[in-house]
Amino acid sequence: MSLFNIFDISASGLSAQSVRLNVTASNISNAQSVAGSEGAAYKARNPVFSAMYKDAFNPQSANVGVETLGIVENSAEAPKRYEPGNPLADEDGYIYLSNVNSIEEMTNMMSASRGYQNNVEVLNTSKDLLLQTLRLGE
């Protein structure tokens, strides 16, 4: 019954979007973090989504959900600021900021929340259809 597969598919979408929302929250909360060296500065993180094609030759799983392959760090250079009074400053007086772009993160957050809502709606509609089908003939 393919309506039951929708639960798996939409659940994978929900979990992927919530991972994205989590990562975005971590990025936004660390947008103002500072560090004493380039390497220790917070780097913006992003999840990598991929369609679950692992079992694609099985005709029963032709419709695929989504999975999170991993979380990658943004490789952009951490901006540095001259602040010799800061206790974290290195010997030249620089502190290193995170490379989080707040605007990028806000759009990411909105896109993730819309994706999450879409999946919830699909789940609810499918649940209603299934329940109505179960009541067929009553």
Binding site: M1, S2, L3, N5, I6, I9, S10, S12, G13, A16, Q17, R20, F49, S50, A51, F57, P59, Q60, A62, N63, V64, G65, V66, S111, A112, R114, G115, N118, N119, E121, V122, T125, S126, D128, L129, Q132, T133, L136, G137, E138
Partner: protein, 135 residues
């Protein structure tokens, strides 16, 4: 179609299986709305339904399978020629062709048509029951 019950239910019993398969496909599109390089798919309902009924001669081609590992030309009970990739209305940089708004409206439309077939089936069942009771 020799079973009289099948005859009673008519096209709607087949239609809801197709509708269910289509809603699964649209759900997969929506779940992958942010997946890079994912291509949205949809079922061409008319040709899928025709080949389900064995109507049009050219669309009811069956592949002979002599081994369980042979690839079928049916996916989830839907003839594979009826499954098509969606033509994107605008290009996106990550190669994704899912338009969430379009998919959502298609999903809702499909769900309503599913419900329509379902209520017709329900009425046929209650009609049959009241005929059997003879009240």
């Amino acid at each position: 179609m020799s079973n009289p019950i099948d005859k009673l239910f008519g096209v709607h019993a087949q239609a809801i299986t197709l509708r269910a398969a289509r809603s699964e496909m649209l759900a997969a599109n929506l779940a992958n709305s942010d997946t890079p390089n994912y291509k949205a798919k949809d079922i061409d309902f008319k040709s899928a339904f025709q080949s389900l009924q064995g109507g049009a001669a050219q669309s009811s081609v069956q592949l002979t399978k002599s081994s369980a590992q042979h690839i079928s030309n049916e996916i989830n009970g839907v003839a594979s020629h009826a499954i098509r990739y969606r033509l994107p209305s605008h290009a996106s940089l990550d190669g994704n062709t899912v338009d969430s708004d379009f998919e959502k409206s298609a999903f809702t439309e499909n769900a309503i048509r599913y419900q329509a077939s379902l209520s017709i089936l329900g009425k046929k069942i209650s009609g049959l029951i009241s005929t059997l009771r003879g009240e």
